[in-house]
């Protein structure tokens, strides 16, 4: 459906200028979720938007080489794994499920450790949402992997 690149120099230049800033803003949204609006979900959606914009203006032939579509389900699964491990590892060290106060990081304690656990979980959610949305887009355009 969108095999070739879009035939307009304006669209190409604007998109290629825009994509790094979208990704930078997405990382800001993920890592600044403790202090402002945002979090893993919104940041993951923004990262997926940057990849989808690249798919749209470069065409799948070039864009599949830059971001292989087989990477997307792997990223989603790794994100889910990070979230699940952040839940299970505190159980092995004497806490409850998803009790970040018992994560085995020796030089951080108490409330700081819980803030770190929240950050780990947000990164996991971001990767899972990123992989899943790119996966849905790739399966919808159906160019064949």
């Amino acid at each position: 459906m969108i095999k070739e690149r879009y035939q307009s120099i304006i669209v190409q230049v604007i998109c290629s200028l825009l994509i790094p800033f979208i990704q930078l803003f997405a990382l800001y949204v993920i890592f600044h979720g403790h202090y402002g609006p945002g979090g893993g979900f919104q940041g993951g959606v923004l990262l997926a938007v940057s990849i989808i914009l690249q798919r749209l203006y470069l065409g799948t032939e070039v864009s599949y080489r830059k971001f292989p579509p087989k990477l997307a389900p792997a990223l989603g699964a790794i994100g889910m794994l990070v979230f699940g491990l952040a839940g299970v590892i505190p159980m092995l060290f004497g806490g409850a499920f998803l009790d970040y106060g018992n994560l085995p990081i020796p030089w951080v304690h108490g409330a700081e450790l819980r803030a770190l656990g929240i950050l780990i979980v947000e990164i996991g959610i971001g990767m899972a949402v990123f992989g899943t949305l790119v996966l849905i887009f790739d399966s919808l355009i159906g160019e064949g992997w």
Partner: protein
């Protein structure tokens, strides 16, 4: 909370929803739906729920529009009724 902003946002919201329902060109209906999502996001911002508004603006006005358009190109552009 300023009731004038609330009132006019709700009026535009209902108009956008009726437009999205009554259009026969589904591509234009998707655009109206994205506008609807954006005004919902503005309404959430005005109520003070910034996080929900952020999700609505990225998912409702961004991703879901793209996915709807891709699905439209896989099927037909005109609505039956």
């Amino acid at each position: 909370m300023i009731w004038q902003i609330d009132f006019w946002l709700l009026v535009i919201l209902i108009i956008a929803a009726i437009i999205a329902l009554s259009l026969c060109d589904l591509l234009a209906a998707v655009a109206a739906l994205a506008a609807y999502s954006f005004f919902v996001a503005l309404l959430f911002t005005q109520m003070g729920a910034i996080d929900v508004a952020f999700v609505e603006a990225t998912l409702g006005a961004g991703i879901s529009g793209v996915l709807f358009i891709v699905a439209l190109f896989r099927t037909r552009r005109r609505s039956e009724d």
